[in-house]
């Protein structure tokens, strides 16, 4: 598009250069950028739903006894909160939205390997989401099993578990197909000169993630089918009365769901690895180690699922093996953290919104990850398992980690695709609220857990009341920050200042093309001649 130079307020780019507009041009588009945005909108929508449910949970826990809902509703609340956050927000979150938007451009491709399959994945996501939502209002009502669907309870409860589980099954296939697409794309569609040593770390992380999606997700798919078989056919595969073993369900569930936590965090780590060098104007420290550790996490992460089952009655031998491997899998994460911090050393650091989110990611992820070590050790996990300590742990890594990385990515990349940017001040104020509120909320919950307050508890003993109140106040501070950040972002992208091709001074390919990118991404075939973090010759913004 030659019109990119003669820019009026903002060039059209992929938003209009094909001449197609209207809903149909979006939901039937095979353009990776449009699909990426479809995912971005849906994922953000479900994030907001999940947040509202989370806030309701916190309000209920503000004081002992009944505050706003009854016990059964509370159980449905945290179940739906967990299911929405895990399967509808965080797993597709970064890979399907920002991965789709950015990854093909980063490797110099015009699209992913299978554009139509890509669109199909989004449709599966939409259908799966719809089925999950339908389950809330039909049959016996919203599922009340917790997001882990443990048998025998999930096989017995009268709520609409079968439909919800079926929805998650569909979502699993959406995730698998995205993985298939990304692996093929990264193998086949790299531009000339884009060798594996020049792959941006975000793309590296997506590559590792995609493998986990392909190899682990089918296990949850079949497990969920078995839950339905248990409920509908009375198959008895997990029913101790009929020779089944409920512990086997937990094995199958975690064979997927532990690797799934790396589906959640690896792309986030990729985002951070791309942002920190740009805002320090320094090459990333230890590129090869960071890339290799992504693969290492993906591989070793498939071998530690048993650490969720220390109290289940699993054999002590298994506890020993899984505990050992859990500690091993922490090492590649440690390597990443040390390399990120070292990248800052002797750089030229500018604390704009993406960087603030990125740096707070490092901190919050470290807190979450280090608390993971307490959970990984057999002796200490026994005490804090199934308490709010675990809830704190996973919110630190999932929300403080992936959630903050999601916002870092939004502030970093979205101006490129919308051609306009948000205001810096409100972004920073919003970030500050989020950061403070987040720690007040979840640090407190971890302390509660150490004092022995179990999770999934509607009601609790009076001695836990003061800290619970503090945590609830934290959730309000966090929510305030979220509102500020989101409003500012949406307003800015709609009507903010136009941005140029390269607002941050990035060296990866997405910053070398027009803003917003044209449908074809590149004019002609790009040829890559330098690494992703080589800032020589990149103009400082």
């Amino acid at each position: 598009m030659s019109s990119a130079e003669s820019r009026q307020p903002v060039a059209e780019g992929f938003w209009g250069d094909t001449g197609k507009t209207g809903l149909g041009s979006w939901i039937f588009s095979t353009d990776h950028k449009r699909i990426g945005l479809l995912y971005l909108y849906s994922v953000t929508g479900f994030f907001l739903v999940g947040v509202i449910l989370g806030l309701l949970i916190r309000i209920e826990l503000m004081a002992p006894g009944k505050t706003i809902v009854d016990a059964q509703t509370y159980n449905a609340l945290f179940t739906v909160h967990g299911v929405v956050m895990i399967f509808l927000f965080i797993i597709p979150g970064i890979p399907a939205s920002f991965g789709n938007l950015v990854m093909p451009i980063q490797i110099g491709a015009r699209d992913v390997a299978f554009p139509r399959l890509n669109l199909f994945s989004w449709w599966l996501y939409a259908i799966g989401a719809l089925v999950v939502l339908t389950s809330l209002f039909t049959g016996g009502g919203a599922p009340d099993t917790g997001w882990t669907f443990y048998v025998p309870f999930s096989a017995r409860t009268g709520t609409n578990v079968s439909l919800a589980v079926f929805g998650v099954f569909i979502l699993g296939f959406s995730s698998i197909l995205t993985g298939v697409n990304f692996v093929t794309t990264i193998h086949r569609l790299r531009a000339d000169g884009m060798n594996w040593g020049r792959l941006p770390l975000f793309t590296w992380s997506l590559y590792a993630t995609a493998w986990v999606q392909i190899l682990a997700t089918p296990i949850i798919a079949i497990t969920l089918v078995l839950v339905i078989a248990e409920r509908v056919l009375g198959a008895g595969l997990f029913d101790p009365g009929r020779g089944g073993d409920p512990i086997m369900f937990q094995h199958l569930f975690w064979i997927y769901s532990h690797p799934a936590v790396y589906i959640m965090i690896l792309p986030a780590m990729g985002v951070i690895s791309d942002i920190i060098p740009v805002f320090s104007r320094k090459p990333i420290f230890g590129y090869k180690m960071i890339a290799a550790s992504s693969i290492g996490i993906a591989a070793a992460g498939s071998l530690v699922w048993g650490h969720h089952m220390y109290t289940s009655g699993m054999s002590d031998t298994a506890i020993m093996v899984f505990s050992f491997l859990t500690f091993i899998v922490a090492i590649p994460s440690a390597i990443k953290v040390f390399n990120w911090v070292s990248t800052l050393y002797k750089g030229s650091i500018s604390l704009e919104a993406p960087m603030l989110f990125a740096l707070s990611f490092v901190l919050l992820f470290s807190i979450g990850g280090l608390s993971g070590l307490i959970l990984g050790a057999a002796a200490t996990d026994i005490h804090v398992h199934d308490t709010h300590f675990v809830v704190g742990h996973f919110h630190y890594v999932m929300f403080g980690g992936t959630g903050f990385a999601f916002f870092a990515a939004a502030h970093y990349w979205l101006p490129k695709f919308f051609g306009r940017r948000y205001k810096e001040k409100p972004a920073i104020v919003g970030w500050a609220f989020m950061f403070v509120g987040f720690n007040v909320l979840y640090w407190t919950m971890q302390v509660l857990g150490m004092h022995g307050m179990p999770r999934r508890y509607y009601d609790y003993l009076p001695e836990f009341a003061p800290l619970n109140f503090v945590a609830t106040v934290g959730s309000w501070i966090l929510a305030t920050g979220l509102v500020i950040v989101l409003v500012n972002l949406v307003k800015g992208l709609k009507s903010g200042e136009p941005v140029g091709e390269n607002p941050w001074g990035g060296a990866t390919l997405e910053w070398q093309i027009a803003t917003p990118p044209p449908t074809e991404n590149f004019e002609g075939d790009p040829v890559v001649t330098h690494g992703p973090y080589d800032f020589k010759g990149v103009v400082k913004p």
């Binding site: 016990a71 159980n75 101790p240 180690m289 090492i331 800052l344 280090l370 307490i374 990984g376 002796a379």
Partner: protein
Amino acid sequence: MEKHLMTTTEAIDPVFMFILGSCLVLLIGITAAMVLFVVRYHRSRAPEPTSQVDGSLWLEVVWTAFPTLLVLGMFYYGWSSYLTLRDVPPNALQVTAVGRMWSWNFLYQNGKNSPKLYVPVGKPVQVALESKDVLHGFYVPAFRVKRDVVPGMKNHVWFVAPKPGSYDIFCSQYCGTSHSAMIATIEAVPAEQFEAWLKETKATGAQHPALALLEKHGCLGCHSLDGSQKVGPTFQGIWGRKTDVKTAGKEHEIVVDEAYLKRSIVEPNADVVEHFPPVMPAFAGVLTEEEIRLIIDYFKTSAGGAKLDGAKLAREKGCLACHSLDGSKGVGPSFKAIFGTKVKVVRNGKPEMATVDETYLKESILKPSAAVVDGFPPVMPVEDDLSPDEVSALVQFIKELK
């Protein structure tokens, strides 16, 4: 206490201190480095980067090796201390904890059961864990022990209460509507007091000499006293019971009386109760006339005469976890003055009115999901191990609650 026995708390807490401490040190280190770099190399102070170094082999080696050693230490310490939790001291007191939706019950070896877990101070206690329905978790925060209660699986925990006092037991594994109400208490009391409690509250009938006989001759191996189904018919409420028996291949109904009982003991295969195998050994010559008298008297008075205690059943079977006795709303409707009222229920998906009478109550106990009272969740578990007598006792109990 002869020798100091390491408590579970003493085994776990040092590991906590070690891992938590190392983590805090690391966290503070990383935070300090980040803040330092961000301040020192902020663009306002460092307009251009002063280094373009993009890696260092020896640094990578250091920060791979150092965490590796540290986590190996954590692993080993964590694992070896965990073994303390698994290593039950010899001579531990044996108790069984039975978890059901949504209550606990504790069984002692002498047959005594109690909704509170009484234990002697300073003596190790091994708790065998048994679930009647779904997963539960036996969690005592004060002793740092937790173990899932899995149907069909033999799990256990052990602990020792160092000081007299009450300690909370939580259900840690999510188990449905009233999961958070599934709380019980450990009462740790001095050893002598515990012994006294255990004896004094020993099942009332145990003093009866006939019971000793029934135990001694193995009768209780096949006949229960509590209505549960075993190889032979239960002794519970046997006196005056009507049953079908087969005499010389022919069926007919009898009423259990003295003559019948006597014959059944001396010559068991003369009349065999329907649906039971004819496997009972004859006790002619084994039991004296005197002893048989004693047993029959016992059946007349205690086992048969003493009615099942509905109130006790309601507590033991966990009904009271959801149904209050004082009119307050729980997960299910309160039992108070419920008999005779009219309630709106949902049957087969359709609302209708029902009168709470005996039939209705019986159905609600045996098939809870058939008719669910409007406004309450359909979560009541099916109690499939209730005997007909127990159901009647429960109905009677509810009927009498004014």
